[in-house]
């Protein structure tokens, strides 16, 4: 237990301090047997529900050896799914990055009525079921949808094609960057930007030279989480994709198709790439969180 002692005790000798601290920990802890049971239950639960599914992905992917694994990933269908996943993620992450920066500037740097309401509207996609996130675009652009007939008569195809899948991905990843930046920029206040403007900098100069360096870790954090979700999204993309093989299959969709065809090695090989993406995302997230904490502390000082 690493706790700070209150200031009133800070003059006490270190040895005394340690003894007092140990006494405090005793007061705030449970008997050893209880501690072991609680840690045991927590660790067992996490192993069964979180670690084992992750292990299964890799065990299944390599169950027929590395050769079969590599062959599964080299399959043209797999390669086209990887390409499409990267394309959709690149488009949706960059658009959401621009939106996130713009929205965070408006929301964090100015006071206006209805701010809380606006932030909850931006958060809305987080609480919508992925299937509904896809459904809303089918209702807009589908054959029976509001714009369906018009799109059909102009020979524009949004649904069951890349544009529709990108729109659905944009919807589900909408809040990530804005949400990472708004609290960070609110904490940092407006003084530095104020100073830059009063010294004659333009708005854009101020943003790129003053604001952006201050929020760079937050930007990366938002982009990282946005990208992970964009590449991994299943439900929303599945509804609008139409499942056209080799054309509208992203990696998560191909995982499903191969699994339903009992091609387990191939399915889990693709799944293992997505699992690695998740693990890399988590490690990077931990590193970025450390930078963000440091930034916050130096800002406080």
């Amino acid at each position: 237990m690493t706790m700070e002692l209150p200031h009133s005790l800070s003059l006490i000798r270190p040895s005394e301090k340690a003894r007092l601290s140990a006494h405090r920990d005793d007061l705030r802890s449970e008997p050893k047997a209880v501690r072991i049971v609680i840690v045991g239950v927590a660790v067992t639960f996490l192993c069964i529900f979180v670690v084992m599914p992750l292990v299964v992905v890799f065990a299944q992917a390599f169950s027929r050896g590395i050769g079969a694994y590599v062959a599964a990933l080299g399959n043209p269908e797999a390669l086209s799914a990887i390409r499409l996943t990267l394309l959709i993620a690149a488009i949706s992450v960059s658009l959401n990055l621009v939106f996130g920066l713009v929205a965070a500037w408006a929301i964090a740097k100015f006071e206006f009525p209805g701010k809380t309401f606006l932030v909850s509207l931006i958060d809305l996609p987080f609480s919508v079921s992925p299937v509904i996130s896809g459904l809303v675009f089918v209702l807009l652009f589908g054959a029976q949808g509001f714009f369906g007939p018009w799109l059909a008569s102009h020979d524009i195809r949004l649904l069951f094609a890349v544009p529709g899948m990108t729109l659905a991905t944009l919807f589900v990843t909408f809040p990530f960057v804005a949400r990472a930046l708004i609290p960070l920029m609110q904490e940092q206040g407006t003084q530095e930007e104020e100073a830059a403007i009063s010294l004659g900098a333009s708005g854009l100069q101020t943003f790129f030279r003053v604001t952006l360096p201050n929020i760079k870790w937050g930007v990366l954090y938002g982009v990282l989480l946005c990208n992970a979700r964009a590449m991994g999204e299943f439900g929303a993309v599945s509804v609008v994709s139409g499942h056209i093989r080799g054309e509208t299959n992203t990696m998560p969709l191909l995982v499903e198709i191969l699994y339903n065809e009992y091609q387990f090695v191939a399915s889990f090989a693709i799944a293992s790439l997505l699992a690695m993406l998740a693990l890399i995302t988590l490690v990077t997230k931990t590193i970025l969180e450390r930078h963000l904490d440091e930034g916050r502390q130096s800002h406080d000082n």
Binding site: P6, L27, R28, S29, E30, R35, I38, V39, V41, A42, V43, F45, L46, I48, V50, M52, P53, L54, V57, V102, A103, A106, K109, F110, E111, F112, L118, S127, V128, S129, P130, V131, I132, L135, V136, L140, G142, Q144, G145, L167, T190, E194, S202, G203, T206, G232, E233, F234, V239, P252, V255, E256, Y259, S267, F268, L274, A278, T281, L282, K285
Partner: protein, 278 residues
Amino acid sequence: MSAIATRRSTLPGFGLTMGLTLTWLSVIVLIPLAGLFIRSFELSPDQFWSILTSRRTLNALKTSFGLAFAAACVNLVMGTIIVWALVRYRFPGRRLFDAIVDIPFALPTAVAGVALSALFAEKGFLGAPLAELGIKVAFTPIGIFIAMIFIGIPFVVRTVQPVLIDLDPEIEEAAASLGANRWHIISRVILPSLTPALLTGLALAFARAVGEYGSVIFIAGNLPNVSEIAPLLIVIRLSEFRYADATAIAVVMLIAAFLIIFAVNRLQRWAQTRVPAL
């Protein structure tokens, strides 16, 4: 205070950035969601009602909401235990397990789905011993329940963790020095101050599980009236071009989601008003 107002107003770009924000928000989020509600108004109340009360829809909604609530309750209990172990005790691998809690957030749902399904299948690593005990998990409602527990884990842990870390140790010490035993301190002092966070975590886990699709459908078996979740029924109705049915189910689920957000916001406000009182 007036200094703040004038200072803020000298930064440029409010009109432009606010305009872009509202436009983009409307195009990507608000108009598509509004479209769903407009579509549902095209149904007469009778049609709407008969869709929702048809046996299959009713069973799907019951499955989704019932199992999601049960899974969220498991998450509440297990999440509390995990948070307690992570915050209050030192044990080997603690940081690793702390990081592991986020995996259900980060792992794409389809990957979680096929992994859980393989793990709990009758010949799977956990499915086989359970089958010997006579418990069939995969392709039954128990499978849905397991998948919903999986995706809900981070919600309770991550909402309660910061509150438990920030809890003032002096309150516990004061209670202990006044002669309260450990169990009394936990049940009368600590748990009450964690209540808003615990309920928030419960609500978030519940909301996520109700709408969950990818990690559930592989393990569920998807038998109509038995192990069919509401999001899957929406997908099925869409593939049958029964848009009205899909819309009606979606509207009910969306309204439920909004009610949960509203409840969470109230809980947060409650939590904020409680803190200074302590």
